[in-house]
Symmetry: C2
Subunit: 151 residues, 2 copies
């Protein structure tokens, strides 16, 4: 029988396993786990500093620093919002997008040995179970959002 402990264990172990892979791959490109996430988020959108911070659960000042360093590396850019002079919008440079693509490919490759242990039907089930657990498929948010949520 599966206990609450088993589930917690499996989730936590999986988390550290995947986080380890992400940390390793990130490190190969000189990116911390957090920077990796920032790149992932900004791949298909621009975002304001505070929204990024809120979404990542970080302080604004931490976000400032992360952006500073990534900007110094030429991975992303700060831009002004014409409607509100206070907000700073952050978006990727071509170099940043290219790096993000390379990292994504590496991550997929690094996870392949693990995911290859499942057949297509099992993969399907795993994805659907994880989506359910973390409420990707819930319809409770059917009310249109004012600002599109970050991922």
């Amino acid at each position: 029988m599966t206990t609450a402990d088993d589930v917690m264990d499996a989730l936590v172990r999986t988390t550290f396993e995947v986080a380890g892979v992400l940390t390793r791959i990130g490190g190969e490109h000189d990116l911390s786990l957090t920077q990796l996430r920032v790149l992932g988020i900004l791949r298909d959108r621009r975002a304001r500093v505070t929204d990024l911070a809120t979404y990542l659960g970080l302080d604004k000042s931490t976000m400032s620093g992360l952006i500073d360093r990534a900007q110094r590396r030429g991975l992303l850019t700060r831009g002004k919002n014409p409607e509100d002079g206070r907000v700073v919008e952050v978006y990727m440079t071509p170099a940043g997008l290219e790096l993000a693509q390379r990292v994504e490919d590496d991550i997929r490759r690094a996870l392949a040995p693990a995911t290859d242990r499942l057949d297509p039907e099992q993969l399907d089930r795993l994805v659907s179970l994880l989506d359910t657990v973390f409420a990707r498929s819930s319809r409770t948010d059917a009310v249109p959002q004012v600002t599109r949520p970050l991922r």
Copy 2:
């Protein structure tokens, strides 16, 4: 159809979701994610500094610092190994064990809303799929280990 991208996405999203919970709960007890892991590992065993570092993918010196701070807080202790004067064994104090227990309870509680979205049969399947993906059930290591692996 489930693509490699879907799987990667689900795993990565799950990882950040769970890591977020762990970071939050840890923070409530003044523990970083890494310190949380150390406590988790040492709950039912003692370990040498280098083994901890290797297992966590950290440098020895990083491990030294982590142990220092946890020791200063009275959560764990350093002891000598009678067979080899070089090695330092690390193990929990009663206070550390107690804290670890509290944290574990909190984590279980924090994950409950998520895991409650699945019925017992689904939970069973999820755990078994995750165990397969990360090779918990593989029999390739049927040869007895010289030193018991850390988790």
